[in-house]
């Protein structure tokens, strides 16, 4: 008894330490987090710009100098390439370790380990589409590639050198909040980063929804409403450009082109493509520029996040000197320039994800029917570790096409022995090529030939690589593996039993769409059709809506004596091509309704100059209405509950402008009345205005300003860390205008490079900051300048000893004696 009386405070103190040492559900470990000596306050930076330093690192061969400039951009000068990529890994990890590790956990389907069972379905999906398995296969194969393996290993060694230095108090704050620690890095993880990008750029499909349309309305309606080329387009390869090759034989269209599901109820949870993931790039030739040499611009549009997806840096060794943005977790510069050339990318977005209905022999799923024979499936067991250490197992089947993403068994009264699912063929699961080498060689390229050689290493997903050189060349190529398909192959869900439905090989790489030095004096892309209908191969029936491409090409056509600033202004162009195309016709219908014609909303819309500027009320009205208009036209025949794809904007606009009597304007859910186009336009307008009034009050210049309604926000990668994000970013733009800033997506890096025979002048910035630490002034310092459409002048140093007032501190990395 006396013992208990004297010992209980000790046990209670130990219990308290245990309690505050661990996380409880979403509550982080309060002891670790709020102790100022090791907790989050250690991440609050006092003065990141002060102090030169020297760090000895095991694994370096020589000295590496890292200069940080006034935007916290590192300029790395190494004496050899191994040290260069080692230092790149080290330096990026210093600023972005948590982020890069987080991405690899997403791609590998391992989020449950750090956030718990809430992420299980998300993890399951990411595993079931095969990303981790493919990344492992690629990493394994690259071990035999001397160049790729060397840079990946050097990079991983650099990241690990940083991780080894970390004590608990130095951990990025997200680790402290989520209570876990970084794992060692590896080349496999760098590949996972690239897989993550493949998924972001090409991880969606409309195949099931358009197959539903085909099943409901038949081929004539599909041909009429879902044509294979838009009415108005401005393709990447200018119309009339001759194709300088003899095409290979194109497979014949088989009798059966689709295998729809037996029932519309099966779990087909593949996301739709995100129309806001797109990009712009272009280059003007010397004939159009004030300097007589090319100028190149690029702005990839992605989800806007903090930390940003990009990281600016300069990489220099005796073999290379390049500046641009890297993907945290991946070696080399992805978009950038060197002394002689500049390059950028946009997503091509062709159809490289197809689904095959699989016929299994029996419920064991061990065999499937293909090309007249039973073939064995490959079976994998995926195990998911929860945050508390428990495990969940899941079985995944592959056919030769790829993984069967979801298989849902039929209900018991419906052929129960033959479960039906779809196998996915997806170019992201191709394991050949070495995307990282494309960037390695582009970083070192000096001319057009080097650029074309670098592109040959790239696999997926195809990107429109724009190029310019100080030799005067400009070019663009839709580069990557493009499957050789029969016309409309994969427009609908395919039949996995037919050999004719397999991908029939690849379009020969040198026959991918592309153009060099076209007579019009510029090249450009905005995710639109790479080529017009004269291109011999089928790529897809639908690409990004043409509005951005049309505007860019109009502006570039008209441009003379272009400067870097002309291109910067084009990146920020808010002109709404769709409004110009459709609004005059819409206003005619609106004017027929007296209550609308006399409204302030109508007045604002009529006076609008078609620009999605930050203060534009007309843009608010038009953009908010567009969705209701589409629902008004299509919502009755293509109800969301039946998972039917809407016809495209282009097709809808054509219908409104040129086929006002089309039967689609009559609502099928009102059998007693016949609506016409005017009814649909007016009623959808009223609905949209009522919604706007409800959300933002009566129309006023302030409340209905486009920036206030659009509400661009840049949030942290962990959705619940809302206070780590930035809301109310006030700017113009829109997903269909060149300045493609919507609420959540937008230009994730803007770059303009003016080449020169001596030394290039470049500008750039992204909506975030170099540091991934929310306790750093460099966490989000570029956002306001980005929103204002400004660009920073980039400091591209010639050598490590160059003097510049913008260089704030120097870190020397030296080899450590073992």
């Amino acid at each position: 008894m006396r013992l208990i009386k004297h010992l209980w405070p000790l046990f209670f103190a130990l219990l308290l330490i245990y309690t505050f040492n661990r996380s409880w559900g979403v509550i982080p470990p309060l002891g670790k987090l709020f102790n100022p000596f090791v907790g989050f306050l250690q991440n609050a930076e006092r003065n990141p710009d002060r102090g030169n330093g020297e760090v000895a690192l095991e694994g370096l061969h020589g000295k590496v100098t890292v200069w940080y400039d006034d935007n916290a951009v590192p300029h790395i000068f190494a004496q050899n390439d191994d040290d260069l990529y080692f230092a790149q890994g080290y330096v990026i990890a210093k600023d972005r370790l948590w982020q890069m590790e987080f991405y690899t956990r997403v791609a590998a389907g391992r989020l449950t380990e750090v956030v718990g069972p809430g992420a299980l379905e998300y993890d399951r999906y990411n595993r079931r589409i095969g990303m981790a398995r493919t990344a492992a296969a690629i990493a394994d194969r690259l071990k035999n590639d001397t160049v790729a393996n060397r840079i990946l290993e050097a990079y991983a060694a650099g990241v690990n050198a940083y991780i080894r230095q970390l004590s608990d108090k130095d951990l990025p704050v997200e680790y402290k909040l989520l209570n876990y620690k970084p794992e060692p890095w590896s080349s496999y993880k760098s590949i996972l980063m690239l897989m993550n990008m493949r998924h972001t750029l090409n991880g969606g499909s409309n195949d099931s929804r358009i197959t539903n349309v085909l099943a409901k309305y038949g081929p004539d309606v599909v041909a009429g409403l879902f044509p294979d080329y838009p009415a108005i387009e401005s393709p990447i390869v200018p119309q009339g450009t001759p194709w300088a090759f003899s095409p290979v034989a194109i497979p014949a269209v088989p009798d059966t082109v689709t295998a729809p599901p037996d029932t519309g109820l099966f779990a087909f949870a593949v996301p739709e493509p995100h129309p806001e993931v797109g990009s712009n790039n272009w280059a003007v030739s010397g004939s159009k520029s004030a300097t007589g040499l090319p100028i190149l611009a690029n702005d990839p549009h992605l989800q806007l996040t903090l930390p940003s997806i990009w990281y600016q840096m300069q990489l220099s060794s005796p073999n290379v000197n390049v500046y641009g943005v890297a993907l945290p977790g991946t070696p080399a510069i992805i978009i950038g320039f060197n002394k002689d050339i500049a390059w950028g990318v946009t997503n091509t977005g062709s159809d490289v994800m197809d689904f095959y209905r699989v016929r299994f022999r029996d419920s064991t799923l061990n065999a499937y029917w293909h090309d007249g024979a039973w073939k064995p499936t490959i079976r994998y067991t995926e195990s998911y570790r929860m945050k508390d250490g428990s495990q969940v197992l899941d079985t995944l089947y592959y056919t030769h096409q790829g993984p069967i993403v979801y298989h849902k068994k039929q209900s018991t009264n419906y052929a129960p022995n033959i479960p039906v699912g779809y196998a996915m063929r997806w170019v992201a699961n191709e394991t050949d090529g070495a995307d990282v080498l494309t960037f390695y060689y582009l970083n070192r390229a000096t001319n057009y030939e080097d650029y074309r050689k670098a592109l040959t290493y790239f696999t997926a997903p195809a990107q429109n690589f724009v190029f310019s050189s100080n030799g005067g060349d400009i070019a663009i190529v839709s580069n990557g593996k493009l499957p050789l398909k029969w016309r409309e192959q994969g427009k609908f869900l395919l039949d996995g039993t037919l050999a004719a439905h397999d991908w029939q090989g690849w379009i020969p790489r040198e026959q991918n769409p592309g153009v060099k030095n076209p007579p019009r004096g510029f090249v450009s892309s905005a995710n639109q059709f790479p080529a017009d209908t004269t291109y011999p191969y089928y790529l897809d029936w639908r690409f990004a809506h043409s509005s951005r491409a049309i505007r860019i090409n109009e502006r570039l056509d008209a441009m003379v004596r272009a400067t870097a600033d002309s291109l910067r202004m084009l990146q920020n162009d808010n002109f709404n091509v769709d409004a110009r195309r459709i609004l005059p016709r819409l206003l005619v219908s609106l004017a027929l309704d007296d209550s609308i014609r006399h409204s302030a909303e109508y007045d604002a819309l009529e006076r609008w100059n078609y620009r999605n500027d930050a203060d534009a009320v007309g843009a608010t009205i038009f953009e908010s209405w567009l969705g209701d208009l589409l629902r008004g036209v299509w919502g009755d025949e293509f109800p969301a509950s039946e998972r039917l794809l809407y016809p495209s904007l282009d097709r809808t606009f054509e219908l409104i402008n040129h086929e006002p009597g089309a039967k689609w304007f009559d609502r099928v859910d009102t059998p007693d009345t016949v609506e016409n186009i005017d009814d649909i336009i007016c009623s959808s307008f009223k609905t949209a205005m009522a919604e706007l009034r409800e959300r933002f009050g009566e129309i006023s210049a302030r409340n209905w300003a486009w920036s206030n309604v659009k509400q661009t926000r840049i949030m942290h990668l962990v959705p619940s860390f809302t206070s780590f994000g930035r809301t109310n970013v006030m700017n113009g733009g829109g997903s269909g205008v060149v300045n493609a800033t919507s609420g959540t997506h937008g230009p994730s890096w803007r770059m303009v490079v003016q080449l020169d025979t001596d030394w290039p002048v470049a500008y750039g910035l992204y909506p975030g900051g170099q540091s991934g630490n929310p306790g750093s002034k460099y966490y989000d310092n570029m956002i306001d300048r980005w929103a204002a459409g400004q660009l920073d002048t980039l400091l591209f140093m010639k050598h490590a000893d160059e003097q510049s007032g913008r260089l704030l501190r120097r870190i020397l990395l030296t080899p450590k004696d073992r």
Partner: protein, 122 residues
């Protein structure tokens, strides 16, 4: 005396040790500087809380960016009632509770075990 000792020892050792270093510091201090249990508890608790709050405020004021508000924001996201409380106050309260409880009971444990090993004379 005890208060100052915990503050000094705790400050130096927390700089190098794990987050719960304050516990052995209070324990050992109270073990060798015997007090009555109640004052030992409160002195340890206040000294530990002072240490954590003091260093927290020092770091907070010296920082160029208000990380305190960002982190506090995660905790107050669903609690609009706390939205107007300064973040550093919330952080200090949590730090004080954690440090105070652990320090207090560790100090108490030190006294109690010291009593066990050195039974009071007479």
């Amino acid at each position: 005396m005890l208060y100052t000792l915990i503050l000094l020892l705790g400050g130096v050792s927390s700089y190098f040790g794990p987050w719960w270093t304050i516990a052995p510091v209070c324990f050992v201090s109270c073990f060798f500087l015997p007090r009555k249990p109640v004052p030992a508890f409160w002195t340890s608790a206040f000294a530990s809380a002072t240490l954590w709050i003091g260093y927290s405020i020092y770091l907070h004021l010296g920082a160029q960016t208000d990380l305190t508000s960002r982190v506090a924001g995660i905790f107050t996201a669903g609690l609009p009632a706390l939205a107007d409380v300064p973040a550093i106050a919330l952080v200090s309260i949590i730090a004080a509770c954690v440090a105070g409880l652990i320090g207090g009971f560790s100090g108490l444990a030190g006294v109690k075990i010291s009593q066990l090993t050195r039974p009071p004379r007479g």
